[in-house]
């Protein structure tokens, strides 16, 4: 753990040392060249390049073709973004509610505590794909007024929210537990009620502690919107599949993969940035 003061956190390359810069440049070039060699000299290289990296197919799958019933991946990814954004907000709310119920102590809350514990156990245990299938096919079959007449993206988003809230509620709970008991003591000793203490003293500190793991879960959520395709939502992955099925060319999958990368990488970098800033802040605080 050397050099606590100079340590700027997990940087890809440490600046200021010319010799190590030269070495890292050479090793990077060697590494990329090796990868490229494997790719280009593999016996099936030509086939793979044609089937997965065909420029024309990539472009056609990206823009789609309405008259041939081919959805464009470029348009379909918008559905992924929408599902992600809606799910994210709902997850933050539902997970917090579940966490607060599970952290409650009063006897009145006992039945709710049991329900929320079972909920978390069940939805953390069942694979997300199965939850999507069950909600996407089961709820319409119930024939229950408006609940059974929604579109696949709505059911898919609901499944994402149910599954992820179980995880995120545990993240919240860890955050709440990370705030020292003396903070509750101090708040209650001032005559603040339990709820006011939670709202103004405990929760703000807990949330600050869990931003990095929360962002991590959201990177994962961005990708998992692709699973909603299995119940017929035309999102990027489904659009790519439709294209591949009709042309027998898989370049559309590469397009979908690139689009997901464009979505997730900024969030991943932002997460790193937040973690680094947080570390520096704590370090600065500890020094004073």
């Amino acid at each position: 753990m050397g050099g606590a003061l100079g340590d700027r956190g997990p940087r890809l390359l440490r600046a200021g040392d010319r010799r190590s810069t030269v070495i890292s440049t050479i090793s990077t070039i060697a590494f990329v060249a090796a990868l490229a060699a494997v790719f280009f000299f593999a016996p099936g290289s030509g086939v793979v390049r044609h089937d997965f990296f065909s420029g024309t197919n990539m472009w056609r799958s990206f823009v789609g073709n309405n008259s041939h019933g081919l959805p464009g991946i470029g348009t379909a990814i918008v559905l992924n973004i929408k599902m992600f954004l809606v799910a994210e907000v709902l997850i933050l709310i539902l997970a917090l509610a579940v966490a607060l119920v599970r952290q409650s102590t009063g006897p009145v809350m006992f039945p709710l505590r049991v329900v929320s514990t079972i909920y978390v156990d069940v939805f953390r245990g069942v694979p997300l794909l199965l939850v999507i299938y069950m909600i996407g096919n089961g709820v319409p079959a119930l024939n229950l007024h408006f609940l059974s007449t929604q579109t696949p993206p709505v059911y898919g988003t609901a499944a994402l929210v149910l599954s992820y809230s179980a995880y995120v509620s545990e993240v919240y709970r860890a955050g709440l537990n990370s705030v020292h008991r003396s903070q509750t003591l101090a708040a209650r000793s001032l005559g603040l009620t339990g709820w006011t203490s939670m709202r103004y003293v405990i929760l703000p500190q807990a949330v600050r502690n869990i931003i990095p793991p929360l962002l991590n879960d959201f990177i994962s959520l961005q990708k998992d919107t692709a699973l909603v395709g299995v119940i017929g939502a035309i999102e990027a992955n489904q659009a790519a599949t439709i294209y591949a099925d009709s042309t027998l060319n898989y370049s559309s999958y590469v397009v979908a993969a690139i689009l997901f990368l464009i979505l997730t990488i900024p969030l991943a970098r932002f997460t790193d940035h937040v973690i680094r800033r947080d570390r520096q802040r704590r370090l600065a605080g500890a020094l004073v």
Binding site: A187, R188, S189, L190, G191, Q205, A286
Partner: protein
């Protein structure tokens, strides 16, 4: 002379503790404590760590439920009424802890104004005005925008005292408030407490600072093993302790060069 409204002519009884028992699991920390004090009085609790000083303070503030006994504050029994709103009681009692316990995500001003605005419903502008007055009184005017981790231990503890005072408590409970401080920072906090005592604040002070206790207390209670063993004005208790256990404790303190 007291200028506050409560009992300036005939000092009223502020705190009465009778037969207080408190256990944590199998360990009985308080084994029948009896204690009483009037308004405007300063009582110091001394005794070794683990003798029950902190627990007694927390019981008075209703932060710890008690197992047996009675706690009466200004004539009101606060220990046996299950329908009592404990928050209302706590709002009248300021407590300051050894480890400051400031809210690290709020600046000094927000720390001080949170409880008046959220618990008492004081309008924001008024709460800020009162907070500034208190911060000024204790030499913290230039710190109101600072976060706790930017302050020295002494400054943090003074802010914690101001935060408690902002609720306009009728009594202050101080729980070894200088024990976590570097030696050179102890004086500034003790000065604050002296000023409070001079202004007539009713206080119960658990402390290891014997010299300070001798200066400031109207009465000193020596606790050992969950009981108040001896109770007397400081001049008496420190110079002619009657109980053998008090004598032994004070001898250890003197041998350690702390009195």
């Amino acid at each position: 002379m007291s200028t506050s409204g409560n009992g300036s002519s005939a000092p009223s009884e502020a705190v009465r503790v009778e037969g207080l028992h408190k256990s944590f699991g199998a360990i009985e920390v308080l084994k029948g404590v009896d204690m009483a004090m009037n308004g405007n009085e300063v009582v110091c609790l001394i005794g070794a760590s683990g003798s029950g000083k902190s627990t007694l303070l927390r019981c008075i503030n209703l932060l710890e439920p008690i197992d047996a006994g009675r706690i009466v504050l200004w004539g009101q029994d606060v220990s046996s009424d299950p329908g009592l709103d404990q928050n209302l009681v706590r709002r009248q009692i300021g407590i300051v802890f050894q480890s400051f316990n400031l809210f690290p995500h709020m600046n000094v001003l927000a720390n001080v104004t949170l409880a008046p605005t959220r618990a008492l419903g004081v309008p924001r502008e008024q709460a800020v005005e009162e907070a500034r007055a208190l911060l000024g009184r204790f030499g913290l005017s230039d710190k109101e925008r600072d976060y706790p981790d930017r302050l020295s231990g002494g400054q943090q503890q003074r802010v914690a005292i101001v935060r408690a005072l902002a609720m306009r408590p009728r009594i202050m409970l101080l729980d070894e408030v200088t024990s976590a401080l570097d030696p050179e920072l102890v004086a500034e906090v003790l000065d604050v407490i002296r000023e409070l005592a001079a202004s007539g604040m009713t206080m119960v002070i658990a402390t290891h600072e014997m010299g300070f206790a001798r200066d400031i207390a109207n009465r000193v209670c020596f606790l050992e093993d969950g009981l108040i063993v001896e109770e007397a004005p400081p001049g008496e208790l420190f110079s002619q302790p009657k109980d053998e256990r008090t004598q032994r404790f004070l001898r250890r303190i003197i041998d350690a060069g702390r009195l």
